[in-house]
């Protein structure tokens, strides 16, 4: 199998500034997922992961931007979500990705759980600069 770079067919984005933005963002992601014919299970996983990352961005990153991209790779389509904030950043990513690790007196499920729900998960963070998390869910992945 050859590695291909996915082609971006469509781009959308939303500012995430308050708690009231969570549900509309989730709905927007869902619309795109339905449009490419993603299975209900994959849609549910994608939206649930999106919800976790949006919540983190609000709780820890002082809000940010959520981007939605429709991808095409070979015969498969998918959705890439990018969450970027200019918050405090994450000092120890490996720790943050561990089940149960939280600095917010919560369950510490959001990051490791979302990684499990996605096909691809990438996290970049710099202390004092911010955090960018990119995930991909393929239609048939």
């Amino acid at each position: 199998m050859t590695t291909m770079t996915p082609v971006v067919l469509n781009k959308d984005s939303m500012i995430i500034a308050r708690e009231q933005d969570v549900v509309p963002f989730r709905n927007r992601v869902k619309e795109h997922a339905v449009r490419i014919g993603m299975s209900l299970l994959n849609q549910t996983k994608l939206i649930t992961g999106a919800s976790e990352l949006v919540r983190n961005m609000l709780k820890y990153g002082k809000g940010g931007i959520g981007m939605i991209e429709i991808l095409s790779k070979g015969r498969d389509n998918g959705i890439r979500l990018i969450f970027a904030d200019n918050g405090p950043g994450i000092p120890d990513i490996q720790k943050a990705m561990t089940d149960g690790f939280t600095t917010g007196k919560s369950m510490g499920l959001g990051l490791p759980g979302t990684k499990r729900l996605m096909n691809e998960f990438d996290i970049k963070s710099e202390v004092g600069k911010g955090t960018t998390i990119t995930v991909i869910k393929w239609k048939n992945g």
Partner: protein
Amino acid sequence: MEKIPILKMGQFLLVTIQVDLYDQLAENLEADLVNMVNKTNARGVLIDVSSVSIIDSFMGRILGNIAMMSKIMDADTVVVGMQPAVAITLVELGLPLKGVYTALNVEKGMELLHSKILPTEQNLEEDDDNDARSSE
């Protein structure tokens, strides 16, 4: 702000969640339910989530809180009708719905709640003034 209606049916409280809840609405539901369990001495809470298309860690925590606080007041909580995709996603996310019973539908959920408050035959034999509510 809109409110989610809570129905009282005998010793149980019934809630049907019709839409994906905004956080504030979910938090209000938690407070209202806990208040109502306290006021009515309800013995069970049944939450129908068959129209809910997503349960993330926030919503999971609300359900867990409802169950935990109801339990303190001697009421069991059962969540019914969870869509298979939602259930599978919850497991993969790793969310433990602590203290929450689940059932296939409202009917099965009601049966479960009834079975929880019926004293078992054995209890009746051993303790003739059996009162499940007493806490000595």
